[in-house]
């Protein structure tokens, strides 16, 4: 197959998000870095190094024919299951969950790998068996079972938000691949019930829900984070306080460069900046779906859909959380939140997207 041009619009959006993300990580992290490490550049230094590595990885994957993932689909799936089991036993416990595997030079979340594994495996398997989803027991159920296994393992950590994203990606791929509406509905209802049970079974999750409903009730306790986030967003107004001039990053928002980085963005750049950011993501998603539609085969289409869904779900949940539109759950904002390995994985996905775009039919 001859190689065509990559989707430049997509690449520009990705690079814009990456650059924008780095600027925001620096702005948001400088004060807590100064306070905790006496070095305002502590976080941004690391993030820049990871960004460089990520760009290299993206370029490599853009030149790596995606069809070759077909052969790797099953091994990656197996490897990620093993890692998910490992993390339960030897994972690093950070803030109420064993989610991290330490490789010595860096730590990463096996859940991130699992998402990729699901995308590749589902895309590969579904493209090889067209029409299989018309069958219920021999079609849809085995895929759902795979999702169930991953979800079960993730909940052992526990990692609720990871579970939601992973299940979300899986379901989106199944939906696009042609799962029957009646089947989905039949299964959807019990899933909602099960989800509800999971939420009320753990006290901390329940607390997060109530904190979302009335954050000002428990100002210094569970509501603290979300109130601080709202203060930051509200303080921004239309035009914002100016880049680098957030006040809420002064230890009011815990780890302002992580999950709540969007609040700092809102505070510094105002509604204009926030809207621009969301539109940038919308553009990325739109280009992503475009790539999926123009992919030469079902495997490429489904993989592009899966990766786009991954970005979309994470962006929507993250922004919904920081704007107090849903209960708090730890969800990073792609390209923006601090974290080297997660950035690397996103950029790898972007590489795959670019490669798919090179095989575009038109």
């Amino acid at each position: 197959m001859k190689k065509g041009q990559i989707d430049f619009q997509f690449l520009i959006i990705v690079m814009a998000l990456l650059a924008f993300g780095l600027i925001m990580v620096f702005s948001a992290s400088s004060e807590s870095a100064r306070y905790n490490f006496s070095n305002a550049y502590f976080f941004i230094q690391k993030q820049i190094i990871w960004a460089a590595i990520s760009i290299v990885a993206m370029v490599m994957l853009a030149n790596f024919d995606y069809h070759r993932f077909g052969k790797l689909a099953f091994p990656i799936l197996l490897a990620s299951i093993i890692m998910l089991v490992m993390v339960i036993f030897i994972g690093e416990d950070i803030k109420g969950g064993k989610r991290w595997l330490n490789l010595g030079f860096a730590s990463f979340q096996p859940s991130e790998v699992a998402k990729i594994a699901i995308i590749i495996f589902f895309s590969c398997s579904l493209s090889k068996n067209p029409g299989i989803l018309n069958k219920f027991w021999r079609g849809l159920v085995p895929y759902l079972a795979i999702i169930g296994v991953f979800a079960g393992l993730l909940m052992c950590e526990p990692h609720f938000s990871g579970t939601v994203v992973l299940a979300g990606i899986g379901l989106v791929i199944l939906f696009v691949a042609g799962a029957k509406g009646s089947h989905l509905f039949m299964l959807g209802s019990p899933a909602v019930v099960a989800g509800w049970y999971l939420i009320i079974s753990e006290e901390y999750r329940w607390k997060r829900i109530t904190a979302f409903l009335d954050p000002f009730k428990d100002k210094l306790g569970d509501g603290w984070q979300i109130i601080q986030s709202l203060y930051a967003i509200g303080s921004g107004g239309i035009f914002g306080l100016g880049l680098g001039r957030s006040r809420q990053k002064f230890l009011y928002i815990p780890e302002p460069h992580n999950d709540f980085i969007f609040s700092i963005l809102c505070e510094e750049l105002g509604f204009i900046g926030a809207m621009l950011t969301i539109l940038l993501f919308a553009a990325l998603i739109w280009r992503g779906i475009k790539i999926a539609m123009n992919a030469p085969d079902t495997f490429g289409s489904l993989m592009a859909v899966g990766i786009t869904a991954l970005i979309a779900i994470e962006v929507i949940i993250n922004i919904a959380v920081v704007t107090s539109s849903m209960p708090v759950t730890g969800m990073p904002l792609p390209f923006f939140s601090y974290g080297g390995t997660s950035l690397l994985i996103i950029m790898c996905c972007m590489g795959i997207m670019l490669n798919i775009s090179r095989h575009s039919k038109s």
């Binding site: 004060e31 306070y35 067209p130 029409g131 989106v172 939906f175 696009v176 691949a177 042609g178 709202l230 203060y231 930051a232 967003i233 509200g234 303080s235 921004g236 107004g237 239309i238 001039r245 006040r247 809420q248 002064f250 230890l251 009011y252 809102c266 105002g270 509604f271 926030a274 809207m275 969301i278 539109l279 993501f281 919308a282 998603i285 739109w286 779906i289 999926a292 539609m293 079902t298 289409s301 859909v305 869904a309 979309a312 962006v315 929507i316 922004i319 919904a320 704007t323 107090s324 539109s325």
Partner: protein, 738 residues
């Protein structure tokens, strides 16, 4: 075909997915916009609240001056030590909290545990000690710099200081912990005095540490205005000195009050209540015996009782406590009758010792009665039946009108807290008997301030002026910001009636019941008052005297109230009039008012002793005889070396001056004889015979008064003094009475 159909379905599903994503993103844009635009201001306000530290810089409280610019209440600069515990904790590696606490405890004389508790508390602001002097503040500052302490601050503050301690305590009032006015002028003019505090607003992070970038606002404090009182510190001191003496001499169980007023303007020149308290320690009870009693109580009861006693101590009797004025009120009954022309000065009355009104038999204070007397004599005698008759002639309606007109049913509006309006009969219940008793000042209550404003109106040609304490408000450069003009309330009686009353009241002092207030050359006018507290027969009295001088052009009005005297005497004429006399005498001399002597007074006038030391005996004797003075020569010398009394001192004519002519000659000493209970003549005789000189004070000084007796002498009998020394003897009328 199959493939293309599947492809279509794939695309359709992708569009669904894209649509859902876009919808959710649009919703999130909406949500963000709502938070940032619709709720932005509110959220930002709350955010700023938590992000800023607001420090108050106290403004300097204005000074309270007397009318001549003497400072009565001033604010001194002091400093308050505060801590920002989170910062202290952050810095504990450099300066351990234990060390900081120990040093602060030592410098500030506080308990170590108390200080350590404060600087380690989970809070961002703690006050460690308020208002420390500069000396201590400097020590704290030195400790901070030497030990690199962070989070301990010294904030500028002010402390109220009263240079004259207890002077005019009830008028000035005092301030509380936050420099807020709690009593008196300090309270009423609190808003003007305190100015507006400034603020330093600085940004802080969640750990309470100030943010690095400029986000600081400074609002300068605005100093308070000064209050210039109408009080004259010197006259206030005279009033306090003499009232204090009366308080002790008469063992006043409920204290005393005194007001001095300028009748022309209504300005209060002095106002005092005794016993008083130290404005610099207003929460210390002054009465040691009460303090001891409180010690016996348990904690709860003690703090309650303590509070009650403090309130009692702070009570300004002159405006808060109403009393039954008794005979002093006859001034007004006489004024109403003369104004209404229902009586003339020569009308005759007959007093049998009591008068029947309706079915009640109302007695005169003098058992047996005053017999036949003119209206003038009735006033001089303070005869109750005369005033019952006069009151009846005025009638209830007119009496009530005048009573209201004189301001006795309303607060005067003086700039002090807690003024009482007085208590009077309602129109419906103001009948024959009530009118009769009211006519001689019983069965109702007014405040001392209402009383003296009424008297001032009589003295001021019938114009009632609003009594006031504050002349003006000035800024820190002494520019007048607000001036309070004198305000006439109304014309109560005519000028003619006023003149007649001044003449009449001068008679009361010249040879009537008020002779204790007599001052040679100053034409004092006034009226005595004594009222028995309810229930009648309780043996508890309020003695009072209202006087003014000079009668032909009144400059000063003075009222003295002695509440429950317990040393035997209780008539106003006996114990209150001498106090007014002393205060008026000092005040008139201080104000530089020239005495005007009558012919009779001139005959007994004092003369100034010439300085004759250094002269020959012959020259000295002639110089003395020129002044109607006698000489007694001690020693064999030719020239006078020294003299007793010294030159310039005022003595009675015919006094003897002792002249010493020899150096080292033993001074001739004599023992002061006892002259108490003697008449003026015999007392003078005894003293002159003892080679001493006499100064006659009080009723005895009036040439018109007969039947007086000495009741006080200074120095007392038995004292050994040099020959020629002046013995001051006070006289009062033998006939005890109002």
């Amino acid at each position: 075909m199959q493939n293309s159909k599947a492809r279509m379905k794939l695309k359709k599903r992708m569009y669904y997915t894209l649509s859902v994503c876009m919808l959710l993103l649009v919703l999130l844009i909406g949500r963000t916009g709502y938070l940032q635009i619709a709720r932005g201001d509110q959220l930002q306000k709350q955010a700023v609240e938590q992000q800023t530290r607001d420090r108050i810089i106290n403004s300097k409280r204005g000074t309270i001056f007397d009318r001549n610019g003497k400072p009565l209440a001033v604010s001194a600069s002091v400093e308050t030590v505060t801590a920002s515990p989170s910062e202290v904790r952050e810095n504990s590696k450099v300066a351990p909290t234990e060390k900081v606490a120990a040093a602060l405890a030592e410098i500030l004389e506080l308990d170590y545990d108390f200080v350590h508790g404060k600087i380690t508390r989970e809070s961002s602001y703690e006050i460690i000690k308020r208002r420390i002097e500069k000396e201590k503040a400097d020590k704290v500052r030195q400790f901070i710099t030497e030990n690199k302490v962070v989070g301990i601050r010294l904030d500028a503050d002010t402390k109220r200081f009263y240079p004259y301690a207890s002077l005019a305590a009830h008028v000035i009032g005092f301030t509380g912990l936050d420099n807020q006015g709690l009593e008196g002028i300090e309270m009423v003019f609190d808003k003007n005095l305190k100015g507006s505090p400034g603020r330093i607003i600085s940004a802080k992070n969640a750990a309470g540490i100030e943010m690095p970038f400029k986000y600081e606002k400074l609002v300068n404090p605005q100093d308070g205005l000064n209050v210039v009182l109408t009080i004259d510190e010197t006259i206030q001191r005279f009033a306090e000195k003499h009232l204090e003496t009366a308080l002790i001499e008469n063992k006043l169980l409920k204290g005393g009050a005194c007001i001095v007023l300028d009748p022309k303007s209504g300005e209060v020149l002095a106002m005092t209540t005794k016993p008083d308290f130290d404005l610099n320690n207003p929460f210390d009870l002054q009465d040691e015996s009460i303090k001891k009693q409180l010690q016996l109580l348990d904690d709860d009861a003690r703090s309650k009782a303590n509070e009650e006693e403090l309130r009692k101590m702070w009570r300004n009797k002159a405006v808060v406590d109403s009393y039954e004025p008794g005979s002093t009120f006859k001034i007004f009954t006489a004024a109403m009758a003369l104004e209404e022309k229902v009586v003339s000065l020569n009308d005759t009355f007959f007093c049998t010792g009591s008068k029947k009104v309706a079915s009640h038999n109302i007695r005169c204070w003098k058992a047996g009665g005053h017999g036949s007397q003119t209206f003038v004599e009735g006033v001089k005698n303070s005869c109750n039946p005369v005033f019952i008759e006069v009151g009846a002639r005025i009638g209830a309606v007119q009496f009530m009108n005048y009573f209201t007109g004189l301001g006795f049913t309303q607060k005067t509006g003086i700039e002090l807290p807690g003024e009482a309006p007085g208590i009077f009969h309602t129109r419906a219940k103001f009948n024959e008997v009530e009118l009769a008793t009211s006519s001689f000042g019983q069965s109702f209550q007014i405040t001392p301030l209402q009383m003296i404003s009424g008297v001032a109106a009589i003295a001021n040609g019938g114009q009632l002026m609003r009594p006031h304490l504050v002349k003006s408000l000035t800024d820190s450069n002494d520019n007048i910001v607000t001036e309070f003009e004198s305000e006439m309330v109304r014309q109560v009686i005519s000028k003619e009636t006023s003149d007649t009353l001044c003449w009449l009241l001068e008679k009361v002092v010249a040879d009537g019941t008020g002779s204790g207030a007599y001052i040679k050359g100053f034409r004092v006018a006034g009226k005595t008052g004594t009222s028995e507290k309810l229930p009648r027969g309780s043996g508890k009295y309020v003695a009072s005297f209202a006087g003014f001088a000079p009668a032909d052009d009144p400059q000063v009005v003075c009222l003295v109230i002695l509440d429950e005297p317990s040393s035997g005497l209780y008539y106003g004429g006996q114990i209150a009039s001498p106090v007014v006399r002393s205060i008026l005498e000092d005040t008139l001399n201080y104000l530089g008012i020239e005495p005007a002597y009558t012919a009779e007074e001139k005959a007994t006038l004092e003369t100034s002793v010439p300085t004759v030391a250094g002269q020959t005996i012959k020259d000295a004797k002639s110089a003395l005889s020129n002044q109607n003075l006698k000489a007694k020569v001690i020693g064999q010398g030719d020239t006078v070396l020294s003299q007793i009394p010294k030159g310039g001192i005022k003595v009675n004519q015919q006094s003897t001056i002792t002249l010493y002519t020899e150096e080292y000659s033993e001074p001739v000493t004599v023992t002061v004889p006892n002259v108490l209970q003697n008449s003026v003549l015999s007392a003078s005789d005894i003293i002159l015979k003892a080679n001493l000189n006499i100064k006659v004070v009080g009723a005895g000084a009036s040439p018109e008064v007969g039947g007086v007796t000495a009741y006080k002498q200074d120095p007392p009998a038995g004292t050994v003094v040099e020959a020629g020394t002046i013995v001051t003897v006070e006289f009062r009328r033998i006939e005890a009475g109002e």
